[in-house]
């Protein structure tokens, strides 16, 4: 029993990270109908920004873990929000009206530029970097189940963040504007919504969520590396698709669903765990064939 709890906990941590990335994809698709393939690498950039800030602060003599953590998270989210907004401003918006394939290609290349830049310009960037443990590391052993306090905190923080994003989209004026742009850009414009501003804010919001996922990844694994965004990006995108691209709750569901598939692939199936991604993506392909609109189809519910 306790071993199952451990698997659920492992899966939940993965699911939370995937969900945070997937929400970004879904937000971008909602407002602009584009797929931002540099999203995963924006996440990696956020994680490295966090690490750089931590190194700087510790060198300045800041020792309090709580203060460090707060500053690191703020710095990473701000830096990544700006980066996300810049991608929207200089790469995505100028291509509005061009075939969608162009946006896809441009962001894909931007992702490679970001990834390789970290590898080349961050000192020792081609090797994994140690990420500090800023959360309390104590744990409670319940049989086979090792419940770590930092994991609980990360899960709680992720939940709060996702709930906050959901509230922001459904309950605030900004959210109203985002939903308006998502539903009908022309009408939203005539109603006085500043389209450009909303797009930039949405990209900043989605990227900030990715930054949190990046920091969470760093705190969870105590290690980040330049290519971390590549697979997280693909998985986040797949999660957004199986959830139903453009649907916030679908993205969250998709994230946890994918993590569950990976855990099942590694644990319960009678082949080498190296095939767990083959299994998980295989199920995604099958699901897309069966439910092309995703688990929560775009038509049946309101798009972000």
């Amino acid at each position: 029993m306790s071993i199952i709890a451990q698997y659920v906990m492992n899966g939940a941590m993965l699911g939370m990270m995937y969900a945070l990335v997937a929400v970004g994809f879904t937000l971008f698709f909602g407002v602009l109908d584009v797929i931002q393939f540099a999203h995963g690498d924006v996440l990696a950039a956020g994680a490295f920004a966090a690490l750089a800030v931590w190194l700087g602060l510790t060198r300045l003599g800041v020792a309090s873990p709580a203060l460090l953590l707060a500053l690191v998270v703020v710095a990473a989210t701000v830096a990544t929000a700006l980066l996300g907004a810049a991608v929207a401003r200089f790469l995505v918006l100028p291509l509005k009206g061009a075939p969608q394939l162009n946006v896809l290609l441009v962001t894909l290349m931007m992702g490679t530029v970001l990834r390789e830049s970290i590898r080349l310009f961050y000192p020792g960037g081609s090797q994994p970097q140690l990420f500090p443990a800023l959360l309390p590391t104590s744990s409670v052993a319940l049989g086979e189940f090792n419940l770590r306090i930092d994991n609980v905190i990360l899960l709680a923080a992720g939940t709060v963040l996702i709930a906050g994003t959901s509230l922001l989209v459904t309950r605030t004026r900004l959210g109203l504007a985002i939903r308006a742009v998502a539903q009908d850009e022309e009408t939203a414009r005539t109603m006085g919504v500043d389209f450009r501003r909303i797009v930039l804010l949405t990209f900043a919001l989605g990227s900030a969520l990715a930054a949190f996922a990046g920091v969470m990844d760093g705190l969870y694994y105590n290690e980040i590396f330049f290519g971390m965004g590549l697979l997280l990006g693909v998985i986040g995108f797949a999660a957004a698709i199986i959830g139903g691209l453009g649907n916030l709750y679908g993205a969250i569901l998709g994230g946890f669903f994918f993590a569950a598939l990976q855990t099942i692939g590694a644990v319960a199936l009678p082949f080498a765990s190296a095939y767990k991604d083959v299994f998980a993506f295989g199920v995604v392909i099958a699901l897309m064939a069966l439910r092309p609109k995703g688990l929560i189809g775009e038509r049946t519910s309101e798009r972000v």
Binding site: I3, Q6, Y7, N10, M13, L14, G124, S126, Q127, P128, Q129, L130, S139, A141, E144, N146, R148, N151, Y220, Y221, N222, E223, F225, G227, M228, L231, Q262, T263, A266, V267, A272, S273, A274, K276, D277
Partner: protein, 378 residues
């Protein structure tokens, strides 16, 4: 005046000698270039020492080629060296995938080569080509030493995680073979992809099997993740690694968690080798901008062995191959060298390492061997 005259005479004498060209092939650019440049410099040093020394019949020239640690580039460079008839032999490759890819090329051109760094057994054992030799040991020797050592330390139950490349699978195969022969038992064996991030599912399963030690066959990046996630799940087994993790990055990325990790590597630190001090002294005199790195001494020995063989046989590819087949108890700075019928050195040095206080320390010199610190999981 006399000095100038002597120098003039010397250079005349040198010019009178026939020039013999040998190739050096290794990764000079890319992620493995540090080791490649160290190997290049070491081979260069061997050539310089030989040319400066008395009594050699030939003047040697090193032709340096870059394989980028990529099979396609490696085959190109092997073809370049093989098709150039003025090159009579080669000191070839650090990366196993590249060394594996070029075996056929060297055979086709009949170019005798000595591998100076790659550890995959099949490079020498996967064929019957007489051209290919190797001075360093293979992962077979490494795992034999590892298994015997672990058994002697009293470890019986092992879990294995290996990556699913040839490198990881080879380690898995030979470690499993030798540890079972030594009376050990593998309770779980997990193949993982070489860029996997999350190992919690595998490690949770392993924890339930409660092994005393976890053997890891793979390279630094995932080794770091596995060690760190073991700690998160409260899996307190001894981490038993391979040559793939013996580098500073592994310890830097793990911090205090690296403590007590074991690893094994072909060769030994240069200063511990029989003629290592002399080698390092001469290396230092040349003012190279890179250190020789772990495999520099092997590149040095490979070049030296080729030149000594050429002195006996003359600069003819076929005769050199026949000459290399006779190599037995050749004294070198990496210990005695004897080639078996596959051209593999049968008496390679394997060194045991343990991570202690943020450094890779020779087992024999560690506090663990002295007993003042204890390995895990016993």
């Amino acid at each position: 005046m006399r000095i100038i005259l002597a120098a003039l005479l010397f250079s005349l004498a040198a010019q009178a000698k026939e020039t013999v060209r040998i190739a050096f092939i290794g990764p000079l650019t890319g992620g493995n270039s540090a080791v490649g440049l160290g190997g290049r410099n070491s081979a260069d040093l061997a050539v310089k020492l030989h040319n400066a020394g008395p009594g050699s019949k030939y003047q040697y020239e090193l032709v340096v080629l870059d394989d980028e640690c990529k099979p396609d580039a490696g085959v190109q460079m092997a073809t370049k060296a093989g098709s150039d008839r003025s090159i009579v032999a080669g000191v070839t490759h650090y990366c196993s995938v590249v060394a594996m890819a070029t075996v056929d090329t060297f055979h086709r051109f009949g170019l005798p080569t000595i591998v100076w760094g790659a550890v995959l057994p099949d490079i020498t054992y996967g064929h019957d080509f007489k051209e290919i030799h190797r001075v360093n040991g293979t992962m077979i020797n490494q795992n034999e030493t590892n298994a015997k050592f672990m058994a002697a330390q009293g470890y019986k139950k092992f879990a294995v995680i290996h990556d699913t490349t040839d490198y990881g699978k080879g380690h898995d195969k030979y470690f499993t073979k030798f540890i079972t022969e030594s009376g050990g038992q593998i309770v779980g064996d997990f193949g993982v992809t070489a860029d996997q991030q999350d190992f919690t599912a595998e490690l949770t399963q392993i924890k339930a099997l409660s092994p005393q030690a976890l053997y890891f066959g793979g390279l630094t990046p995932i080794g770091v993740r596995i060690r760190s996630q073991m700690d998160k799940l409260g899996l307190n087994a001894q981490f038993d690694g391979t040559s793939g993790i013996v580098n500073d990055d592994f310890i830097k990325a793990l911090g205090p968690l690296a403590e007590s990790v074991l690893a094994f590597r072909e060769g030994a630190p240069a200063e511990k080798l029989p003629g290592g001090r002399k080698f390092l002294e001469e290396y230092g005199k040349q003012g190279y901008s890179n250190p020789p790195e772990a495999y520099g001494p092997f590149a040095f020995v490979a070049a030296d062995l080729l030149m000594q063989t050429i002195e006996k046989t003359g600069p003819d590819r076929r005769k050199i191959i026949a000459g290399l087949a006779q190599v037995k108890d050749f004294d070198s700075i990496v210990g005695k060298i004897t080639f078996d019928d596959h051209g593999q050195n049968t008496v390679p040095v394997i060194t045991k390492y343990v991570a202690q206080d943020g450094k890779w320390v020779l087992w024999e010199e560690s506090e663990y061997a002295r007993g003042s610190r204890k390995l895990r999981g016993k």
